[in-house]
């Protein structure tokens, strides 16, 4: 607060000199050309912020998502980072460690009631905060499950591994589906660690040992991980799910068209399912493979760049943006989960009885952050390759060992990634 007051005082002095001495703050955003209302909403927040006070003018620049991280990396090397950045949750520790970002310095009381996945912390400090989170669920149809005598799982009592494997076999035996389960193998990239590492965690393993984040030995190649790997390979060996060469179009529409009985997919894909199946649509929690049901947490968030000369202005903008009305507006516009329960009650889909209400509960109860370490961006790629290779029939133990070696070597090459 003290900083803020000083800055305001400075700004007032500056204003006294000229008639319009608003300081420009640059803001970079990843959603250029997004299909939904995202871009328009960001513009709206910026316009309303600029109109609400006279110290700062935020200037927005949007990038296509695929080019965004590269643009930030290049800007950092050239020393031309904007004041305010948006950053994908699991990437944030890397940017903080690489000195692209500085701690947000926000009053943490303002983040009360936020979903854990919407707050980005690194080395004990908050660096970023998100207006929304995303959640993954097992999409299913009530009629199909009831027809085949499969119990409908609940948040309190999710499917066990035996139940889940049994359900897949039952659905496969009906012969009504090309595959009983659609995992989304066509979505390469971040989808693999985001959607599948929670299975590994539920088995009792992890991508990296979270105690200090200095090794993957034992976490990614221990008994639990090997058991997970064998289960994973079995899904493809036994034709339970389409493999890495799944057609991308089938991923988008296969479940709605009835090619698959179950689909492991995110809340952003939920509305077409509701439109098609209405009350028959079910969004089920992740199965419990022994260590509790888990889904991935964290989506895109806002933070302040390390080189910003006006972190107080940047912080003021972020505090402005996380008002409940914007959380609700983004949720309505994009279908994503609002970061607080208060905001959820004002949305179309996440209010009580809303079509996607269940996703808020999933996010609140099951979400686990991906490993909070600067090495995550490398570990995610190694994990993705290991899972693709195992799905394609590679030896489970050798593949996981190789992944562990690569992750450990990377941690070593980066002198432990600065954990303290």
């Amino acid at each position: 607060m003290k900083h803020l007051r000083n800055a305001t005082a400075l700004a007032v002095i500056a204003c006294a000199g000229t008639a319009q001495a608003q300081t420009e703050l640059s803001l970079w955003y990843h959603g250029a050309g997004s299909a939904n209302a995202e871009e328009a909403l960001v513009n709206q927040v910026v316009d309303e912020f600029n109109a609400s006070q006279s110290d700062w003018t935020v200037v927005l620049e949007t990038f296509p998502q695929l080019a965004y991280n590269d643009a930030v990396g290049a800007a950092a090397l050239a020393g031309e980072l904007p004041d305010i950045l948006d950053v994908d949750g699991p990437v944030m520790p890397n940017w903080a460690w690489a000195e692209y970002m500085q701690p947000l310095g926000i009053d943490e009381a303002k983040l009360d009631g936020f979903l854990p996945g919407a707050i980005g912390r690194w080395n004990g400090e908050v660096y970023s905060v998100g207006l929304w989170d995303a959640a993954v669920a097992m999409m299913a149809r009530k009629s199909v499950l009831e027809e085949n005598g499969i119990r409908i799982p609940t948040l309190e009592e999710p499917w066990t591994r035996e139940e889940f494997d049994g359900a897949l076999q039952t659905l496969k035996d009906t012969g009504n589906f090309e595959y009983p389960l659609d995992l989304g193998m066509a979505w390469t990239g971040e989808w693999y660690p985001y959607a599948f590492s929670p299975f590994l965690q539920s088995f009792g393993g992890d991508i990296v040992d979270r105690d200090g984040y200095q090794t993957a030995e034992g976490a990614l190649n221990g008994d639990a991980a090997i058991e997970f790997g064998e289960w994973w390979q079995g899904l493809f060996e036994n034709d339970m799910a389409p493999g890495t060469s799944q057609d991308a179009a089938d991923r988008e529409t296969g479940f709605v068209e009835g090619k698959y009985a179950l689909s492991w997919n995110g809340n952003w894909a939920a509305l077409p399912v509701v439109e098609k199946f209405g009350d028959d649509a079910l969004f089920l929690p992740a199965p419990d493979f022994g260590n509790g049901p888990v889904i991935g947490g964290a989506s895109w968030q806002f933070g302040v760049s390390a080189t910003s000369e006006h972190p107080d202005g940047a912080r003021q903008f972020i505090e402005f943006a996380i008002q409940p009305k914007y959380l609700s507006a983004f949720s309505d516009g994009t279908g994503l989960i609002p970061s607080t329960a208060d905001a959820a009650t004002d949305t179309k889909n996440y209010n009580e009885g809303g079509a996607l209400e269940v996703f808020y509960e999933l996010s609140e109860n099951q979400a686990k952050l991906r490993p909070v370490t600067p090495g995550y961006i490398v570990q995610a790629k190694v994990f993705e390759k290991a899972l693709a290779d195992i799905a394609n029939g590679a030896d489970v133990v050798d593949t996981l060992d190789a992944a562990v070696d690569e992750i450990n070597e990377d941690i070593e090459n980066n002198q432990g990634y600065g954990h303290n």
Partner: protein, 356 residues
């Protein structure tokens, strides 16, 4: 000499300046940077300063070891066999992981192996993915260079005729070259799509449904050949135009003379066309080889190196490591190795095709 070279050619140097400057900035300087980076542990983004590590990056990529696995034996010394009668061996990880007795195997992985009596001889590599990329890249070049050059020559001969509307054919053959390789790769992903992809449908229709759909890009034995076929189709038009330029340089009087002497079509090709294309052939061979070594976009769009590394190639690995995994030194090392390979092959080609 030097002063005369600069003074007498001042205009020449001036005209060359933009090109030379750009090449220096974007090709020569980055090359020396890559060589320098390959001797350090430079990262793309890191608060840690880069350190000089000598040739460690090279040994991490190129390290190879041979190891003989002896079969498991029971207490009486007899070889243990599993249910199918196959000899059982101890797992390699017992030797390669945390085993101080075998320091030369630490961190290495099985690349390939063969049977030798009761024993199994295993070749291990420090970086199996790199080794596979190396082999795949060479395989790609060995198939693509001759087939693409030959096909391009056939097409050039076909369209080097004075027929009505021949330009339409020239345009059609050249079209794939003009379209962005990324777009072509995306389209071919649909063509190769498993299940109801275009290729599977056509083959099914031609065989009256007897053909069973193949997952072209999803099988280790068809993925690389599929990419080869698509690459040949995409690039053949460019080579065709170079051949065509060569063909049209051959004096028509030679053909007339041949006709008067009663040469057959084959004799005309063998003794007039082919010798006349000599320089063109050298150019095409070198250009195709260099292009084939630079294979990247198709892999990036279509397979990402999978399934099971069957389509890993050097440039894709260099980019994947340098940018994807932020390991600039590793990516640079691969680039330097690739440079040395391409340079040596080009020199050998120059030597073999020299004027005698």
């Amino acid at each position: 000499m030097a002063s005369k070279l600069t003074r007498a050619n001042r205009t020449g140097w001036l005209m060359a300046f933009p090109g030379v400057a750009l090449m220096t900035l974007f090709i020569i300087v980055p090359f020396f940077l890559a060589f320098a980076f390959s001797l350090t542990n430079q990262r793309l983004a890191s608060p840690n300063a880069a350190e000089y590590v000598g040739f460690e990056n090279y040994s991490d990529l190129l390290g190879v070891a041979v190891f003989t696995l002896e079969p498991e034996r029971d207490d009486s010394g007899a070889v243990v066999r599993d249910g199918d009668g196959e000899i059982e061996y101890p797992r390699l990880r017992n030797f390669t992981r945390n085993n101080p007795d075998y320091p030369n195997l630490a961190g290495k992985r099985e690349w390939f192996s063969w049977q030798s009596g009761e024993n199994r001889v295993v070749v291990l590599a420090s970086d199996v993915v790199f080794m596979k990329a190396l082999v795949n890249t060479f395989t790609f070049v060995l198939f693509v260079a001759p087939i693409q050059a030959g096909l391009a020559l056939c097409l050039a001969l076909l369209i080097n005729q004075k027929l009505y509307g021949i330009n339409i054919f020239r345009t059609i053959y050249f079209m794939p070259v003009v379209v962005s390789i990324v777009v072509v790769s995306l389209l071919w992903r649909f063509i190769y799509s498993p299940g109801d992809g275009l290729l599977n449908n056509v083959l099914g229709w031609l065989t009256f449904g007897a053909f069973e759909g193949i997952d072209w890009l999803g099988r280790t034995d068809t993925a690389l050949p599929s990419i080869m076929a698509m690459s040949i189709w995409q690039g053949v038009g460019f080579q065709m135009v170079i051949w065509l330029a060569g063909l049209q340089n051959i004096s028509p009087t030679l053909y007339e003379a041949g006709e008067i002497e009663g040469a057959s079509k084959w004799q005309t090709f063998r003794y007039i066309t082919w010798p006349g294309l000599r320089n063109t052939a050298v150019l095409i061979l070198i250009v195709i080889t260099m292009q084939a070594f630079a294979l990247f976009a198709q892999i990036d769009v279509m397979t990402q190196g999978g399934p099971l590394d069957s389509t890993q190639v050097l440039v894709f690995q260099a980019v994947e490591r340098g940018y994807g995994k932020q390991d600039i030194s590793g990516g640079s090392t691969i680039s330097v190795i690739l440079f040395v390979i391409v340079l040596s092959i080009s020199l050998v080609q120059r030597y073999l095709t020299r004027e005698k």
